[in-house]
């Protein structure tokens, strides 16, 4: 290409004219020990904490332990060619990652290099991976919702833009599924999504990317992957790298969502690094600053004030617990940092309730402020009814004949609400669909539908509403509230639907 040739020619010309100009002067050290991804370096007296060090063959390292007579650095990459006696230079930089709109739709690693085989990424800006979170004055309270498209989340545990909501549960229970469905639901919206995969199987990450592509989610998503075969140092930095990418959008006044899947493996990677660096182990062999590891990451997700652009970064960290033990070290740490948790239970999962959300133990500390008025109108009643149903649930075993009419009615209503809150994977719903079906179930319109026919009713109802009464849905979506006239129309539509179908 002509333009490229010209560039090279001018560069060479410049180099020839200035060849022999300056020699470089750098601080050096010598490797005295190397093993397990950590190098001990003698010298480097001017190395600063978290400074990038240049190893031979273009590999970089991070100076993490500055001791009296040596510096211990974790190596960010392949360390098999490094040997004792190698010369190491200080670079004077901290770890940075390229950021910007050019990353959207790409899969990158922690250092910002593309790993999806779609060519290099030309970005204009880079950001340091570690940063101090916005302070109190720069923030404003959360007031806009994140529409996840999952009925039970949007109604009972609403998430707002700028909130941190933890997704916690046992293995294979649907934690990643909630996050992935949320990302798919943002199609056509204005929320940029970042999915950070920490220590996952490469095959699983590939599958997630395929899912995003299938449902058109890659158009608004960036995937940052540090798989389990990557060194622990790279896995340790991956969430911070993803957060830096999200912060760029937040500071431009845009809204971004970041999913950390999952922080348990992040804690393991950091534990590995700390133990190899000979830092004293604490509870469960985690280092003393394991809380700070997660708190400084999650505090960077915020809603900025209007003076700072009004952008937001919502964080959905995922934690895997062992055998439902929520009171283990890492889960309790992260629960205390986040603004609420979505607790998924194995018993509910096995009982067929998927997503297996435990409404009692799950909470969103932002709550109603992050819901549209329309959702609030239907969800308040839903929550109360579900709570009363849970209390009476044990009596359901006695059978219908032994209970009084009111209790029986409550049980019937609760069963139908539970059925409605079930949802298959990869099928996020629009706001109007969620609001209309929840309106129907909380106002008793489904009380005469048999429990096993409720899901079929739901699917047919959505189709009916979009073909016969699209204006109702459109009005709810536009006003974001159920006005009295919309309510009347909705009631009429539901009655019409029930008559038309045999339920």
């Amino acid at each position: 290409m002509k333009s490229q040739e010209k560039d090279i020619v001018s560069v060479i010309k410049e180099q020839i004219e200035h060849f022999g100009a300056t020699a470089t002067m750098v601080d050096v050290g010598t490797v005295v020990a190397i093993g397990d991804g950590v190098a001990r370096i003698q010298g480097l007296r001017k190395a600063k904490y978290n400074e990038l060090l240049a190893f031979p063959k273009g590999v970089m390292g991070l100076a993490l332990n500055l001791e009296e007579d040596n510096v211990a650095a974790v190596i960010l990459g392949d360390y098999s060619h490094i040997k004792e006696g190698d010369e190491i230079h200080c670079t004077g930089c901290v770890v940075e990652i390229p950021v910007g709109d050019e990353l959207i739709g790409r899969v990158v690693n922690t250092l910002g290099e593309p790993i999806d085989g779609l060519g290099p990424i030309k970005t204009e800006k880079t950001r340091p991976v570690e940063r101090i979170a916005p302070n109190v004055v720069d923030r404003q309270p959360v007031n806009t919702p994140v529409h996840t498209g999952i009925k039970c989340v949007d109604a009972l545990i609403p998430i707002g833009r700028g909130q941190r909501e933890l997704i916690i549960g046992d293995r294979s229970i649907g934690k990643s599924a909630i996050a992935i469905d949320t990302i798919i639901a943002q199609k056509g919206g204005n929320l940029i999504c970042i999915y950070v995969a920490i220590g996952q199987k490469t095959a699983k990450v590939a599958q997630v990317v395929e899912t995003f592509k299938k449902y058109g989610a890659m158009e608004h998503t960036i995937v940052v992957a540090a798989n389990s075969s990557d060194p622990a140092s790279v896995q340790y930095l991956a969430p911070y790298a993803g957060c830096a990418i999200g912060e760029e959008f937040m500071e431009q006044g845009k809204d971004a969502l970041i999913v950390y899947d999952d922080l348990s493996k992040h804690a393991w990677a950091y534990r590995q690094i700390s133990l190899i660096l000979r830092r004293p182990p604490g509870r469960e062999a985690y280092p003393g600053d394991i809380f700070y590891l997660h708190s400084r990451l999650l505090e960077r997700a915020a809603k900025l004030s209007a003076e700072k652009g009004g952008g937001s970064l919502t964080a959905l960290p995922i934690i895997e617990v062992q055998a439902g033990d929520m009171s283990a070290y890492i889960p309790t740490n992260v629960i205390s940092i986040t603004d609420g948790q979505i607790y998924l239970e194995t018993d509910l999962f096995n009982g067929g309730i998927r997503p297996p959300l435990n409404v009692g133990l799950s909470v969103s500390r932002v709550g109603g402020n992050a819901q549209t008025k329309a959702m609030r109108q239907v969800a308040g009643k839903l929550r109360l009814d579900m709570a009363q149903y849970r209390e009476l649930a044990t009596f359901a075993q006695f059978g219908a004949s032994d209970l009084d009419k009111a209790t029986r009615a409550q049980l019937e209503r609760g069963q139908r609400m539970t059925e409605i809150l079930k949802q298959p994977q990869y099928s996020p719903l629009s706001l109007e669909n969620e609001v209309t079906i929840l309106f129907a179930v909380t106002n008793g319109f489904l009380d005469d539908v048999p429990v096993d026919k409720v899901s079929a009713f739901e699917i047919a109802f959505y189709k009916f509403m979009s073909t016969n009464h699209p204006e109702v849905g459109k009005k709810i979506a536009a006003d974001k509230v159920i006005k009295p006239e919309t309510e009347a129309e909705l009631k009429k539509a539901i009655a019409e639907f029930k008559q038309s179908a045999a339920y």
């Binding site: 560039d7 180099q15 020699a23 750098v26 003698q42 010298g43 030309k122």
Partner: protein, 179 residues
């Protein structure tokens, strides 16, 4: 050279004593004598043997280091009792480093592609002294792999003016330009 933290502490203590008594050079010689003594395998075996009583070890060292200063002997007895006489070499190295620091002397290892003559050597030394602001003692090496120019390693600073380095920089900037 690698030295343990304890060797550095001993060297600092000895340096302070020597400075107070203004006997910096004498102490340097004594430390070298002690470290050479420990290089003798028979002596070091005896000193390291835990079964041999302290008095015997002390006597041996006193005899070997004839007409040594009282404080030098005290140092040896202290090191024997702590089992650290084997680190005498490291202590001597650390002491010399402190001495050089105090006198403003830096050691440099200079690598050139071809051997240099005396006048060029002097020029290099004076340049390095200008850069570091301290006196420089130089050790010369020849390595054709750097192709030309000079590489100077002054303790923890590396000044790389070799042709090899500049070619590598050129390569890097070309790769950046075509990205």
């Amino acid at each position: 050279m690698i030295s343990t933290i304890s060797a550095r502490r001993y060297a600092q203590a000895i340096f302070q004593i020597a400075q107070a008594k203004n006997k910096l050079d004498e102490w340097e010689k004594e430390l070298r004598k002690i470290s050479d003594l420990m290089k003798d395998p028979q002596v070091s075996d005896l000193i390291e043997n835990p079964k041999v009583p302290f008095n015997l070890k002390a006597e041996l060292v006193k005899q070997k280091l004839e007409k040594a200063d009282g404080l030098v002997l005290n140092l040896c007895y202290l090191l024997i009792s702590k089992g650290k006489l084997k680190n005498a070499g490291q202590i001597a190295d650390e002491y010399e480093r402190l001495l050089d620091d105090c006198r403003g002397i830096k050691h440099a290892v200079v690598t050139t592609a071809v051997p240099v003559d005396e006048s060029e050597k002097q020029k290099i030394i004076s340049q390095l002294e200008k850069i570091t602001g301290k006196k420089v003692t130089m050790k010369l090496q020849v390595n054709p792999a750097i192709l030309g120019g000079m590489v100077a390693r002054i303790e923890d600073t590396l000044i790389d003016g070799s042709v090899h380095n500049r070619l590598a920089q050129l390569k890097r900037s070309l790769v950046e330009a075509t990205k």
